[in-house]
């Protein structure tokens, strides 16, 4: 490696944080500065120890008033940051103009020029060992009052190292099409929108999952449904699948009653009724509900989820809602053009209480950066 110290060139950046300005709309101008000179920006590590929040308040007094403004320390509020490169020899930094905002001040107030001789000279205190620098200025405001402006800066020194050859390349002449580039061509622009590394998981989600798991644990595995084989969800007598798996219950009846609950019955459910012809669930033995009834029942237990993120899929919703109870149906409305969802979905629960629980818990829940709206799929009349 030839990256020896000789190749390093230290550049000193004086980063000055302007905490307060009087009558300058600093927010907007600060942005403009950032956009205009992206190359002058550098990341500055915040001074490590406690947060200084020095904001000074200007006091506005009459011209003949002897007392000048009082300085007051206040919490840090919306500062804008101004970074400037100063030659390595930093001794003359103070002699230079201190910040961009000062220049605006000077340029903007041409009327004041003749009166400025009446004002006390500008005063600069610091920077002290903590890097705090104060600049005290006096000027007249629009109402003709004398104003004392105390600006407090935190001066941070950042050292960035750059290879000699990199610095040399920076001064290379443009070539090719870049030579006769129009000034207004704007080939390189800084995006106006902020992009982020979008995390696939929302923070609260894991918590919810965990909670569901612990809930499950609390119930223990004592409760095992012999009809559908689900553990800890419901008693066999209250199995929501009782009528759906009617065929298997036929088999079940024929069996010696010793069948213990732990035998997984899902295989029975699928393999059940082998050899016999298909019997629709509602005509099976033990079915109490007619088709219309079942439909009504399902609708009664369905909820509508809207304001869904477009990335949400059926499986995601299943995952989200399954902690509340047995889900019988998940329908995500698809967009014909994109194949993504249209922002809403229907979820049918086996039991109405579960659905209600889900509504209570998840209405207003933040999911994929959107706030879910969970409601009954059809308006309740009662």
């Amino acid at each position: 490696m030839d990256r020896d110290a000789g190749n390093h060139k230290n550049q000193l950046f004086w980063a000055e944080e302007v905490d307060d300005e009087v009558e300058v709309d600093d927010g907007e101008n600060g942005d403009e500065l950032k956009a205009g000179n992206p190359n002058q920006l550098c990341w500055v590590d915040e001074v490590d120890d406690e947060e200084y929040g020095d904001e000074t308040e200007p006091g506005i007094y009459d011209v003949d008033d002897e007392e000048y403004g009082r300085d007051e320390l206040k919490p840090f509020q919306n500062p804008f940051v101004n970074y400037r490169t100063v030659p390595t020899n930093t001794g003359n930094a103070n002699k230079n103009k201190l910040c961009w905002a000062d220049e605006v001040d000077d340029d903007g107030d041409e009327l004041e020029v003749d009166l400025s001789s009446l004002l006390p000279p500008r005063e600069i205190i610091g920077p002290d060992e903590k890097g705090i620098k104060k600049v005290i200025e006096y000027k007249f405001n629009e109402a003709g009052q004398k104003v004392k402006v105390t600006s407090t800066y935190r001066v941070t020194k950042t050292v960035t190292k750059e290879y000699k050859r990199v610095a040399e390349r920076r001064s290379w002449a443009k070539f090719g099409d870049a030579v006769d580039e129009d000034v207004g061509s704007r080939l390189t622009v800084v995006s106006t929108e902020d992009v982020f590394l979008e995390r696939p998981r929302v923070a609260g989600e894991e918590e919810l999952e965990l909670k569901a798991k612990t809930e499950e644990k609390k119930g223990g595995f004592l409760m095992v449904c012999r009809t559908c084989g689900k553990k800890g969800d419901h008693f066999t007598a209250k199995c929501p699948y009782k009528d759906l798996i009617g065929a298997s219950s036929n088999n079940h009846d024929q069996r010696p009653s010793s069948s213990d609950g732990t035998v997984a019955s899902s295989s029975k459910a699928t393999g059940g009724g082998g050899g016999s012809t298909y019997v629709p669930p509602n005509q099976r033995q033990g079915a109490k509900l007619s088709g219309a009834d079942m439909k009504r029942r399902n609708e009664e237990n369905s909820i509508r989820v809207s304001n869904l993120s477009e990335d949400a899929q059926e499986s995601d919703l299943r995952e989200l809602f399954s902690p509340f109870g047995q889900i019988t149906r998940v329908y995500v409305a698809p967009d014909r053009n994109t194949g993504l969802n249209r922002g809403f979905a229907f979820i049918s629960f086996a039991r109405k209480e579960d659905a209600e629980k889900a509504i209570n818990m998840l209405d207003g829940y933040g999911y994929d950066s959107l706030i879910l709206k969970v409601e009954w799929s059809q308006p309740r009349s009662k």
Binding site: P38, N39, W43, Y163, R165, V166, R169, R170, W172, K174, F175, G176, D177, A178, V179, E181, R186, L187, T188, V189, V190, S191, T192, E193, D194, V195, F196, L197, E198, R199, P200, E310, D335, N337, T338, G339, L340
Partner: protein, 326 residues
Amino acid sequence: MRPILMKGHERPLTFLKYNRDGDLLFSCAKDHTPTVWFADNGERLGTYRGHNGAVWSCDVSRDSMRLITGSADQTAKLWNVQTGAQLYTFNFDSPARSVEFSVGDKLAVITTDPFMELTSAIHVKRIARDPADQTGESVLVLKGPQGRINRAVWGPLNRTIISGGEDSVIRIWDSETGKLLRESDKESGHKKTITSLVKAADGSHFLSGSLDKSAKLWDSRTLTLIKTYVTERPVNAVAMSPLLDHVVLGGGQDASAVTTTDHRAGKFEAKFYDKILQEEIGGVKGHFGPINALAFNPDGKSFSSGGEDGYVRLHHFDPDYFNIKI
């Protein structure tokens, strides 16, 4: 983070490359002029005029003095990075696809596409220190794989050449004798065209991206499969962070399908995965078309992506990127 958008190319981007110091970014596109940009602020430094076809890839020498580009005009060209002057032109009988300097910049590997009756080939050229002494002779020509070879890079110590392409097989060749040393097998290997191949900073392992919607991490010497990253879109470009254990996959639906579907269906994000856990960390959106090229700054603090939309987007990471926890 606010990405810097560089709109210097009029056609889809094909390749991006940082120089070793990470201050210059070279971009190739289907328009005929590779371009060099300052990697910190995205300012255009210059263009390399002379190619007469799409430029498929480029590489820059370690001292950032020479640039080599491979183009569909059946040439590969050597350039002076600083002035944009052409130093030498290698002529082939078919389009040149992938180019890379060896460690030490004394050799270059150039792949050529199948064309008319010609099959694809991997050429090894000697690069003279003085451009005046440069000759077009090939030190070695490797032939054999069916279909296009999309990427060929040097293995550790320049002893091997690693190639991948349309036949979805990764091959390791001996760079001295031209013997085929290893081949990825059917089960662990890719199922569809390998579109990109990038080495780790130390060269010990490499990452391949494929249209089978996955990227795989391989050992450079033994060609053992280390990790697989599964995504939901074809992978056109891959990159590996030199700083953190992150890999980035770029892609999107097929370019021909872009106009027929909503842009939301395209999945044009650059997806970040944890290199070890193979878990998705996040995605960076922004392009209006599939991502064709990705490159990580050698300092690991910024990356750039080039898309079918003709934009290069240069991302300087926010400070919180560096302490992401899964």
